[in-house]
């Protein structure tokens, strides 16, 4: 069933998605630009706990999900930094931890609305191996959809799962139709009432931890095909391939439409999951184009992932359009090619 067309902000879409996903509890500490996810959840009657900081909010999510509660949190910037401790625990213990992250400018408190500088933190933060599922929506409609998907993936595969967005998408208001056809994965207690389970997040011997990390990585690799998502736009005859994620992917489409009018054969690969990265789909295009141009509002956090994931035998040259902490309108991308 498709919902009616409505005018809504990104925040409102996230809150609606959390309710529709069957989330029962939000633990959080307010921070721009995700505060309205928290206040919106509360206004709609969601159960919540405002903790003393993001460290506590993160560990509260860990506790909630172990007890079988479909819990989540939302944070940003310095709050996202503080939450890495709990996210690492969720990675180590394989907890279905769902976080909505609204990227803001960094380092530190930076700016409060927009950047794409929390990619590395979301994908590889904490003292682990980056075994996380990270979704990067490009539109309000996709923000709703991927928030729904995030809860399902978290409970199905049991890795920390992040919807990585930004204040431009959260605070903008647009027309969207919610996809209400998605079925929800069930939550359940990871330790049952009365059950005695020796479940560790600290190990005595290096070998034990090594075994656990290798096992978790093997599982992560095995779900990659199912989880990894990407979008190709105008890539069939493309000679230049743009790579952009999140809302920059939207600006890239507008730029491609303009550049194609001027005769340039240009297309877009948009990773929808940053972890795992859909490298099979990417490689297929990257190997046949003349150059790859990675566009992002950071000094190379997406580029780092792309370079690491691209098959080593592909020798296509890579160029970069980087505006750290700054929005990238289509015109900025068009100008690069003229």
């Amino acid at each position: 069933m498709q919902d009616v067309k409505k005018l809504a902000t990104g925040h409102e879409a996230v809150v609606e998605a959390c309710f529709d996903a069957g989330a029962k509890m939000m633990y959080g500490y307010p921070i721009t630009p995700t505060t309205e996810v928290f206040t919106g959840w509360i206004k709609k009657g969601g159960e919540y706990l405002q903790t003393e900081d993001e460290i506590a909010a993160g560990f509260a999510v860990c506790g909630g999900v172990i007890a079988g509660q479909k819990a989540f949190t939302a944070t940003a910037g310095p709050g996202h930094v503080l939450m890495q401790d709990a996210l690492s625990m969720a990675e180590g213990m394989r907890l279905p931890f769902v976080a909505i992250i609204g990227q803001r400018g960094g380092p530190s408190s930076g700016t409060v609305i927009y950047s794409q500088q929390e990619v590395t933190l979301a994908c590889f933060g904490g003292n682990g191996e980056g075994l996380r599922l990270v979704y990067s929506p490009s539109t309000i409609e996709e923000l709703y959809f991927l928030t729904r998907v995030a809860f399902n993936s978290a409970w199905k595969y049991q890795y920390p799962t992040i919807v990585l967005t930004d204040g431009y998408l959260l605070k903008s208001r647009g027309v969207f139709v919610a996809d209400k056809t998605i079925e929800n994965a069930e939550s359940y207690p990871l330790v049952k009432e009365g059950e005695k389970k020796h479940w560790r997040n600290i190990y005595t011997f290096e070998e034990e931890l090594n075994e656990a990390v290798v096992r978790n990585k093997k599982d992560f690799d095995s779900i990659k095909k199912e989880v990894a998502r990407s979008e190709n736009y105008q890539t069939d005859d493309a000679e230049i391939l743009l790579v952009a994620h999140g809302i920059v992917g939207g600006a890239a489409k507008d730029a491609i439409n303009e550049l194609r009018k001027k005769g340039q054969k240009i297309g877009l690969f948009r990773p929808i999951t940053l972890r795992p990265f859909d490298n099979e789909a990417f490689d297929k295009i990257a190997m046949r184009v003349k150059k790859v141009v990675i566009v992002e509002s950071s000094l190379g956090q997406l580029a780092q992932i792309v370079r690491a994931e691209m098959a080593p035998e592909i020798a296509t040259p890579i160029e970069y359009i980087q505006y750290p902490a700054l929005g990238i309108e289509a015109e900025k991308i068009v100008d690069y090619f003229l």
């Binding site: 005018l7 409060v112 609305i113 490009s138 539109t139 431009y168 998408l169 605070k171 903008s172 208001r173 647009g174 027309v175 809302i247 939207g250 600006a251 489409k253 507008d254 929005g327 309108e329 289509a330 015109e331 900025k332």
Partner: protein
């Protein structure tokens, strides 16, 4: 059809109020809409911007670098938005309306609603929205405020 509107003023001047009304009224006529507010940490005192886009196709990105219509309600705001102007941009600069505002006794508090009238006249001319929808939205939003009569008057003058 793709229209990019940038509204600029000081925090507290009601920039977001008119952006909200214009985007809702256009949505009711079934257009694709994008509206994003942009203001600093201090919501009062700093410059307040609203980026509104109205289109018949999906809007991919909430911001833009050149505006088709630019509304300027303060000196401070002018400095921030001059780069968005291009030769064909339609500009409402409050300074150009000083005489009309004085003659009609339209005060600082209703300046945004006067500008809304000016904007609605243009959008109505392009069949983007209907004035009666705007009237309803305006009354819903501001009808209970004590300067409602002043606002109603400012809107009417702006429309002319």
């Amino acid at each position: 059809m793709f229209l990019k509107i940038l509204l600029a003023g000081d925090g507290g001047q009601g920039i977001q109020t008119i952006a909200d009304i214009v985007s809702k009224a256009s949505f009711q006529k079934n257009w694709e809409i994008s509206y994003i507010p942009n203001y600093g940490l201090e919501q009062r005192g700093g410059v307040s911007l609203a980026f509104v886009q109205i289109s018949d196709t999906k809007i991919n990105y909430p911001k833009f670098s050149k505006a088709d219509i630019l509304v300027i309600l303060s000196e401070q705001a002018r400095g921030r938005v001059e780069n968005y102007m291009q030769p064909e941009t339609k500009v409402f600069d409050y300074k150009d309306f000083a005489d009309i505002l004085a003659d009609n006794k339209i005060g600082e508090k209703s300046l945004n609603i006067f500008a809304l009238g000016w904007l609605v006249k243009i959008l109505k001319g392009q069949n983007i929205l209907e004035t009666d929808i705007v009237n309803l939205l305006l009354e819903e939003k501001l009808g209970l405020k004590d300067i409602w009569d002043d606002n109603k008057w400012a809107y009417k003058v702006g429309l002319q």
